[in-house]
Symmetry: C3
Subunit: 346 residues, 3 copies
């Protein structure tokens, strides 16, 4: 990035930071400590990089209260430098301008309600009864099915599909390839043949939600799938039908959430986690990467089951031993009986 000039004094004021340095000095871009140069703003969010701070050539650095001394250059002091970086990057980012209006190649049904302040991109489709709020942007190749609703300032980047009747709140960001409101996987078995259960619910997505590329969120069977305000979802996540996700929960890439799961508020679900169907997960639960949640979690805490890779010959040996665990336990109990005369549990 490389954008407008920001005098440090103005930036400090916008960030609520304490400035040590010349308020007239300008920064134009953000860069990591190790590569930053003249005109760059950097930050120290992880004290592992303290050494890089000491030698940085950045024009200014965002640091925590204890690290101002270590900097060879101007500093903006904030209690949470990573958050300061997020805020500074947002301020300084050159958001590409967008022109309101409907691109001539888009296909917008006469019965759709598109705000004159919204933008409908090239080759997008907006169906009958769909609504698009002010400041919303429907990117190229995106499809808004009939009766779907997109709130104010929400952006569908490109090639996004929002199915019939789905409601997306305000200020959401849906990345390319996202599909919201496809049928849930509902089947009844009739003597070996699968009978489809019509998926009659919808998806209700709150405000300020981000959904990563190629993520899918299915519509409910009878009631709605619900994604709360402020939820952040990474790429290639699968959210099945009837799931409910509480506000401000974050879900990293490749997570699979099965049907009717209820996830609380402010949870952190790391990458590649699987959550079995019909479970309830309390507020503020943290599940570490690659874990398989197989029962409900009733209160806040950290849960894990990811198996760390070993060198294959070590892993093979462990696996052979694991398969014999039952035998070992029995042999251990037998020894105990022989040794002590006491009866022990296997």
């Amino acid at each position: 990035m490389s954008g407008r000039e920001w005098p440090l004094g103005r930036l400090a004021k916008r960030l609520g930071a304490e400035l040590h340095g010349d308020p007239e000095r300008v920064v134009r871009a953000i860069a990591p400590l190790g590569v930053a140069g003249e005109g760059d703003l950097s930050f120290l969010a992880n004290r592992r990089y303290l050494r890089d701070l000491r030698t940085t050539r950045a024009s200014a650095v965002i640091v925590g209260p204890g690290d101002a001394e270590a900097s060879p250059t101007a500093v903006l002091v904030l209690p949470n430098p990573y958050l300061g970086y997020a805020r500074a990057a947002s301020l300084m980012a050159d958001t590409p301008p967008f022109a309101a209006g409907i691109h001539p190649s888009a296909v917008v049904d006469a019965a759709a309600a598109v705000s004159p302040e919204a933008s409908i991109g090239p080759l997008a489709v907006v169906g009958a009864g769909a609504t698009v709020g002010a400041g919303a942007r429907i990117g190229p190749g995106s499809v808004l099915a009939p009766e779907a609703a997109v709130g104010e300032e929400t952006r569908l980047v490109a090639n996004v599909t929002v199915c019939r009747g789905v409601r997306i709140g305000a200020r959401c960001l849906l990345h390319p390839g996202v599909v919201i409101g496809a049928d849930g996987f509902g089947l009844a078995n009739d003597a070996g043949k699968w009978i489809k259960i019509p998926q009659l619910g919808r998806v209700e997505v709150g405000d300020d939600v981000e959904v990563g590329a190629n993520t899918t969120i299915d519509r409910g069977a009878l009631q709605d799938t619900v994604v709360g305000d402020g939820v952040k979802i990474d790429n290639q996540v699968q959210i099945a039908h009837n799931v409910s996700i509480g506000p401000d929960t974050a879900i990293a890439g490749c997570v699979a959430v099965a049907g009717s799961v209820r996830i609380g508020a402010r949870c952190i679900i790391e990458g590649a986690v699987m959550i079995s169907g019909h479970l309830e997960i309390a507020d503020d639960v943290h599940v570490t990467g690659g874990s398989a949640v197989a029962k409900s979690i009733a209160q806040s805490g950290i849960w894990s089951s990811g198996m760390p890779a070993q060198e294959s010959h070590v892993w093979r040996k462990m696996w052979i031993r694991m398969q014999k665990l039952d035998e070992y336990a029995r042999r251990l109990a037998r020894l105990e009986r022989q040794g002590s005369g006491r009866k022990t549990d296997e």
Copy 2:
């Protein structure tokens, strides 16, 4: 949903159900027991919800033979109430009408064969030599490559890609983002460089197949990838080249099936299962969620290896112990030798 009025007498007849109640009473929609009200049909498929049945305000409920007494309202008795619900929902669903014909914004090659009774949606592409059967619907943004074939009454919802020469049967339902017939991952190594193996086979999808959003099914290397009649596949599933899936098998979300796997008929593969390449899985095999199938399964049965998440401090302790299993086994064997004088297996 909320649609036409169905008198219970007519509904019972269509479902083959025994009606206890007024045949003239009408239902218009389906709802779960706990939220159903006047005009709603509900169902008791899981006896865990028996309490909800006793207090339901639904106008009628589908129940199993033993539960008619417990209902405070009219009942339709069927041996499998869940199947009854699936059937009733299908009957009562208001299928949006569709108009046959080619949308003026679609790009249909002059050498494609599109049934006059098919619908080609806005901004869809149909290539040379492609065929589209009667009653088929190619949704907005979908791409049918040259020589691809889509059977009667099959629906590509939106933004679906069907690659060159792929054949899709009748009455299939392909959700948004589905890709059928991309190249399989075929590579030969030449002194550290990968040489692509042209993927010359196709994909053959049977009748009555459902494919979930963003699922991918690759074309075969030399022969075809085959998906049998009645197969149901959920979202974000990956089916690699040369795989064959028997009729009426169901595959839940985020499953990964590696190349040349042969899966039998009527299998149930739960979510996030991984199946290694070149395996054969018999008919009627059930693999539970998150398992990794690493060898062939020769006969019907239930298979598992999903690791249930624990609180992280418990899991860490387990993991440390697992890494020492080899040592424990050796120590156990040594104790046995000392204790009994017998020689034992480690």
Copy 3:
């Protein structure tokens, strides 16, 4: 496949193979040993199929030096028959012709630079400042955002999305549904609310890279995500922001690579592997299917942690034992103390 006629003499010359048989005999297609017939070329890459070689009806077979005798038909002898097959298939494949030029339904910004030798397919979008090299093909429904660059002879098959500023090298192949350059998952927490970190880096994809259907590669937060020359990525892979992948590494389907991971050259990452964030993986590392890489791997080797599925009743017993491992270890240590008087490690 079924294409032009190839006399064996000419084919042997192109492949650098030693021919045993009539140089005038022709082949037109490639087929597996067991199904090949008159006019087919086959190959023996796995000696497990030696029996099929003895009875094949192929017109010619590519074999290794030791297997020429076993063939009932003409042979082309090569040190690596699988590589020979890859090469022969490439030579013999009928590549569909493509016409350079911009389809009238495509939307190409006046400020884009499209080579007159490139092809822009139906309903594709090319944004302002984007560049498309000679021989490149932008397939139907694909979106090239502003400032994106696609190198010579690179192909975006269909419905591919390349985001703003992303650079794709020459001779790449991007399958349908691929998304390159969506925002990475960067968030800072502010008292329970997530603040988005603008993703200001780009993606740099080298030459000769293949990316499978519905795979996603995110843009960097500050610096670029980098995919080296000759990298091959299968379907539904997720590559997070700031990742770097060395040349000639192959990544199979459904792999999840978290942020800032550095993967070396010539690695093989099998299907459904998860790699945690900020790790470094050396050159020539091989990770087997379904493993979770949770720490850096400093040198070449094979790593595993995939849990092979067992019959569920066996698995349940193993799992119960695993949960008691801590107890068993304590009991074992107690026995050792009792038995020998020695102090032992638990």
